[in-house]
Amino acid sequence: MTNSGENTEATEDPDDTRLTVTLKVNGQECVVSIDPRVTLLDCLREVLHLTGTKKGCDHGQCGACTVHIDGRRVNSCLALAAVHGGGGEIITIEGLGTPGNLHPMQRAFLENDAYQCGYCTSGQIMSAVALLREPCGASDDDVREFMSGNICRCGAYPNIVRAIQQARRALGGS
């Protein structure tokens, strides 16, 4: 027996446990057919081929998979995609800016060399953009505290803080 509720739809084959889920990603409605176990992270990368969002630890510890749901940053590795069917607006790094029209935070990361290998960078930038809307104090220490959910194994932290502070100034924040 599968009571799939109003936001997901079971497929017709009773042995097929896949669900049909409609996600709103970067302003587009995406209909996907997925196993209930699929996380939002795996759905973004493997089904929708939005590979800008990275898989680091896959356990909510490193922040590489950070995306926005209704403007709030979350770890997409700990979110089941099916939960977000018919739900909130999901924004990934691909929805933030384009190569010809970077988000100010993306530009600040470039200008401050706020990365080395780049693997954590999309998660760092997604967190940094969300931080602009959060009650984060003005100091570098405040930024470090708010960014503690994003780990950088190259240790680019000083330039990440610098980039975020530059973007905050450019955007007229604190």
């Binding site: 009571n3 669900l19 209930p36 176990r37 909510g60 940053r73 770890n75 700990l78 939960v83």
Partner: protein, 332 residues
């Protein structure tokens, strides 16, 4: 991760009926409620949790935070930890709760994690999380490698010969100090469980962690109105400055009258198998002028019966100093 049946429910009775089909609400439950997912999905990936059915309760409208007519604060079971921590009423009236939540996890996790999920989160003991290890909590009767192994982060209070797992929550420590009450709806109606009665000692059955039974749905938590003029704070001591579980933490709340302590309440995190509160220790403070000496005496009582393991004996002294320091912050 094992295959499961994904169910979305739109009202509490449907959730309760779904949950009641599980033979247990404890370790090994075949039905689990899913809200933020920050504990459950993590543990399902580790095969520590392996429900046959996952019931999405995130759309039940249990996410409100409001002050009730009697002055209590009502906190919905699926209110996000971030929303609770930043709620103006919480920041103003329950400072230790706001501080405790913000001292835990990361912004991303707090944006997803919920009230009930936080209370019911599982221990971070590495043997519990590693299915290749024995663990009496995960596999009853298999043994406790932590007692002879890596136990620096684990509990010194409330432990048994079967389990020394520490309760990892910060939020629950503050709620314990504020005399929180957990409101549950189950197959036989609604009931209220003082938070101090929610968790059961590990004893020889550490797989049983709470008094919850199949079908029980936490709907909300209430916090009585703080006492007039009460000041509170949460102090967390840890290995990293951010994004780390507590070695020791303390939520303290105090009222003063004529420069003497009129009332005091406090609870500890990081040291107990559950958030740790000793009312006898609090009573010694009433009527005393605030000083290191009286706070230290209360701390000594609170830590009575501590059973340090091979690597965490430092927690006894650290906990006492944490209590003293936190009380000094709110009585200056």
């Amino acid at each position: 991760m094992r295959v499961f049946d994904f169910v979305q429910v739109s009202d509490a009775p449907a959730a309760i009926a779904a949950g009641a089909a599980s033979p247990t609400a404890q370790q090994g439950a075949s039905v689990r409620f899913l809200a933020g997912g920050t504990t459950l999905v993590d543990l399902m990936k580790l095969n520590v949790e392996y429900p046959d059915r996952v019931v999405d309760i995130s759309r039940l409208g249990l996410d409100g935070v409001a002050t009730l007519a009697n002055g209590d604060l009502s906190v919905g079971a699926t209110a996000r930890n971030s929303d609770l921590a930043h709620h103006p009423q919480v920041r103003e009236r329950y400072a230790a709760l706001s501080q405790a939540i913000l001292a835990g996890a990361s912004t991303q996790l707090r944006n997803a994690a919920t009230t009930a999920g936080n209370l019911l989160q599982r221990t971070r003991c590495m043997y519990f999380r590693d299915t290749a290890s024995a663990c009496n909590k995960r596999r009853p009767g298999s043994g406790c490698p932590a007692i002879t192994g890596t136990n620096r982060m684990l509990a010194i209070l409330g432990t048994s010969d079967a389990c020394i797992a520490a309760h990892p929550s910060d939020m629950a420590v503050a709620m314990m100090a504020y005399d929180a009450v957990v409101h549950v709806q189950g197959t036989s109606g609604a009931r209220q469980i003082p938070l101090s009665d929610l968790y059961v000692p590990p004893g020889n059955r550490p797989n049983i962690e709470t008094v919850l039974t199949p079908g029980d749905l936490v709907t909300h938590v209430t916090l009585p109105a703080p006492l007039a003029g009460e000041r509170s704070a949460y102090l967390k001591l840890r290995d990293r400055a951010s994004y780390e579980f507590a070695l020791v933490s303390a939520a303290v709340a105090v009222t003063l009258a004529d420069d003497k302590i009129a009332s005091a309440r406090f609870a500890l995190g990081g040291v107990g198998t559950r958030p740790w509160r000793v009312r006898d220790a609090e009573r010694t403070l009433a009527g005393q002028a605030p000083s290191d000496t009286v706070f230290r005496a209360a701390a000594d009582i609170c830590l009575q019966g501590a059973r340090p393991q091979s690597q965490n004996g430092f927690k006894v002294e650290l906990a006492k100093r944490c209590i003293v320091h936190a009380f000094k912050q709110v009585t200056r």
